[in-house]
């Protein structure tokens, strides 16, 4: 038998004294405490259950394929959530794709590479503080930084730089039929061959409710046309005159079309949400890296691995399950945010889904908020249905994170 050391004998004594003296009272306090904890947990769970139940009761009946497939409408029965659903998926995906690598890389630098000095301490403190900044502040930042780009590249509707789009200057003939002239960019005035074209002056209601454009038009002197342009205005009238500004521009966008400034587009929205969640991602990734035992790193280094190899092969794989937990929290926040998106000035009523990074979008929380603030009761039921869809999107994103977590949470070999 081992001789018990003095310390353990001391504790043994304490325990015996306690048991003998106030054992019953202590057990009662202990039980009361655990009951209190259970009660508090139940309150939290109950609140969640009530919330979910009330939403399901109010909204589940409205859930249908047409609700997913339709755009917003003034008639509650026909209103759907297609545009905000796709918009939310777009911005959340962009947010995840940008925020996760950037956030994890920052955490890796701060935890694994950076020396512990005043500068890195300053960085750490700032990142912690940023996590507490209200999201609407990031919205204002996103508006200046991404949507308007400090006004450096001109107004949103007339961007100075465009990549991946074919630009057409638009004129109209006397019947309102567009004449599209290919130009290099919005600053180029179409090359003169000859011509002038009119546009209609007035539109009136016809007897059968159709709109009637009168021929009371005034010719605009027009610079036409790059000679190879496919040009056939239906009723155009052409006279020779000097150049005029195009009435409009049309951009045929390729999938990689990008304009500077971004304007109220999915890319600007996704990047703004990235700003909102980045501090959360960094901090949770830092925690994850810190939880990896130092012995693993030491072992890897002892085998002759470089720091990069250690991070890539040992530390990161070991911490990915925890990083993904942080990612779930971050994405949940990003999908639920309305305030920063609203500040960007994005539209609410849209009848298209985004096709590329430079398309307009709207998000689920904005549509849900708008429906809840409508006077008609039916719209509030729609809001509940919208919340169910929002929860669905949230669960889908979290499921992806959980799959990744499962893949990496094998025991270390």
């Amino acid at each position: 038998m081992n001789q018990p050391n003095p310390a353990s004998r001391h504790f043994q004594g304490l325990i015996e004294r306690g048991t003998s003296r106030r054992s019953a009272a202590r057990v009662r306090v202990d039980r009361a405490f655990s009951l209190a904890c259970l009660g508090i947990t139940l309150i939290a769970v109950l609140a969640l259950v009530i919330l979910l139940a009330s939403i399901l009761i109010e909204g589940a009946s409205g859930l249908s394929w047409s609700f997913i497939q339709n755009y917003a409408s003034r008639i509650p029965d026909q209103a759907g959530i297609k545009a905000p659903l796709f918009g939310s998926i777009w911005v959340a995906s962009i947010c995840a794709i940008v925020a996760l690598p950037v956030g994890v890389a920052t955490a890796v630098y701060l935890e694994e590479f950076a020396a512990k000095n005043r500068f890195t301490n300053f960085l750490r403190i700032n990142i912690s503080n940023l996590a507490g900044v209200p999201s609407i502040v990031y919205g204002i930042l996103g508006l200046t930084l991404f949507v308007r780009m400090f006004g450096l590249f001109g107004p949103v509707q007339n961007p100075a730089f465009e990549v991946g789009g074919e630009t057409f200057a638009i004129y109209y003939d006397s019947m309102g039929e567009p004449l599209r002239v290919p130009v290099a960019d919005r600053n180029e005035t179409p090359r003169l061959v000859t011509g002038s074209i009119g546009y209609m002056q007035d539109i009136f209601d016809g007897p059968d409710g159709e709109l009637i454009f009168t021929n009371d038009w005034s010719p605009i002197p027009l610079t036409i046309v790059n000679a190879d342009a496919d040009f056939s205005p239906a009723y155009g009238v052409i006279t020779v005159d000097n150049a005029v500004e195009p009435i409009d521009f049309e951009i045929e966008k390729s999938w990689y079309y990008v304009q500077f400034p971004f304007g109220q587009t999915v890319l600007a929205g996704g990047l703004t949400l990235m700003l909102v969640v980045l501090p959360v991602v960094i901090i949770s990734s830092q925690e994850a890296l810190r939880s990896v035992p130092g012995s693993l790193r030491a072992g890897s280094m002892a085998m002759g691995a470089t720091r990069l190899q250690t991070v890539w092969k040992v530390t990161l794989p070991a911490s990915i399950p925890m990083i993904m937990t942080g990612a779930i929290l971050a994405m949940s926040r990003a999908i639920g945010e309305a305030a920063p998106i609203l500040v960007l000035g994005v539209a609410l009523f849209i009848t298209d889904v985004p096709q590329n990074l430079m398309d307009a979008f709207t998000v689920l929380p904005m549509q849900i908020y708008n429906w809840t603030s409508r006077p008609q009761e039916e719209f509030r039921a729609l809001a509940a249905t919208g919340i169910i869809v929002l929860l669905g999107v949230l669960l889908a994103f979290n499921a992806i994170a959980i799959l990744i977590r499962q893949k990496f949470s094998r025991p270390l070999q």
Binding site: R74, V193, M200, I212, F213, D248, V346, A347, T372
Partner: protein
């Protein structure tokens, strides 16, 4: 380089077309293409949404997007050249007009509907039968804040007043403030404020001493749980808000016009023109569908004329940019 002969041919076609169609030709909205960006008041939003929804069916290739940045936020984007049309639940302010002018943005002012601002009290409020603007001043102004109903009129009971108000940056609040407090007065700050009018509805419905105000649409939807207060109009009559009294102007001074402001530069584009004409043609019906009241037909006709002749500027501002007050039927010619 084959263009010249083609041009001759086109001129020929045009001449024939003109001869065939006579003075007018029918424009098929389906042929229009373009995109229209609209932003501004969340009060006007339901009307614009309804119009945009119908317009989409008539002109499927015109992309219309509508935002809800608020009247002030909408005018900011309007002056920044970011949008074609600005929704507004009040006339443009002198400062906003100046910002547009400085940015080179001319605008055409188009009234689209009426909203009757409704003063409501709890269903259990038995003592209020009508109110005057003077009564409201006693309740809402910061320098004469009545604490109890008794402070407003001596024959009313000694009950605490609880005030529910829309957000101070909403057009609804601006309009109420203008009527009750005028230019210099201020509205008291110890009120329950919410951006969501449904919260105000619930607040007033649940508190016997409560008073609040919001757009008539919220009252019409909640007539069972709220009591609207008849307001003494300029003719000395106590009038309740209803579609009739708002439209014929007897519900004053709390019926306010709602507007859209169209960028004059954008009015050259056929699809914007078609949209605005479509809007004016369907505004009364759309307004009624979403809980507002249509304007008198004469106003829509004046608006159509203003748009067709490209008349820029606001009827609610004088030459110096000072605000003009009065009913829209007199100011908007």
């Amino acid at each position: 380089m084959q263009l010249v002969p083609r041009i001759v041919a086109t001129v020929g076609i045009a001449a024939i077309a003109t001869a065939m169609l006579g003075a007018t030709g029918i424009q098929d909205l389906r042929r229009l293409r373009g995109s229209i960006t609209i932003d501004g008041s969340s009060t006007v939003y339901p009307i614009t949404e309804a119009i945009a929804e119908s317009f989409k069916k008539a002109a499927p290739n015109v992309k219309v997007t509508v935002g809800v940045s608020g009247t002030g936020g909408g005018f900011k984007r309007f002056a920044a050249n970011e949008i074609e049309i600005s929704d507004a639940s009040r006339p443009i302010k002198g400062s906003e007009s100046k910002a547009c002018k400085d940015a080179g943005v001319d605008y055409i002012e188009i009234p689209v509907a009426y909203d009757g601002l409704t003063i409501v009290v709890n269903k259990g409020n038995y003592w209020v039968e009508s109110m005057t603007v003077e009564d409201l001043k006693k309740i809402f102004l910061s320098d004469s804040s009545a604490k109890t109903w008794n402070d407003v009129r001596p024959d009313w009971p000694d009950r605490a007043i609880k005030i529910y108000s829309p957000g101070t940056d909403s057009g609804t609040f601006d309009y109420f403030k203008e009527v009750v407090a005028g230019k210099k007065g201020t509205i008291r700050s110890d009120m329950s404020v919410s951006e969501d009018d449904n919260v105000l509805v619930r607040g007033v419905a649940g508190d016997e001493g409560a008073i609040g105000f919001f757009g008539a649409a919220y009252y019409f939807e909640n007539e069972d749980s709220l009591k609207a207060v008849p307001i003494r109009n300029k003719a000395g009559k106590n009038v309740l808000p209803s579609a009739t009294t708002i439209e014929n102007g007897t519900y004053n001074p709390f019926s306010r016009p709602l507007f859209i402001y169209v960028k004059a530069g954008s009015a050259r584009k056929p699809y914007v023109r078609a949209f605005v004409h479509f809007y004016l043609k369907n505004a009364a019906e759309a307004a009624r569908e979403v809980g507002y009241v249509g304007l008198p037909e004469a106003i829509y006709q004046r608006a159509t004329k203003a748009f067709n002749t490209g008349r820029t500027g606001s009827a609610f501002l004088d030459e110096k940019g000072e605000k003009k007050s009065g009913p829209i039927t007199e100011l908007y010619k």
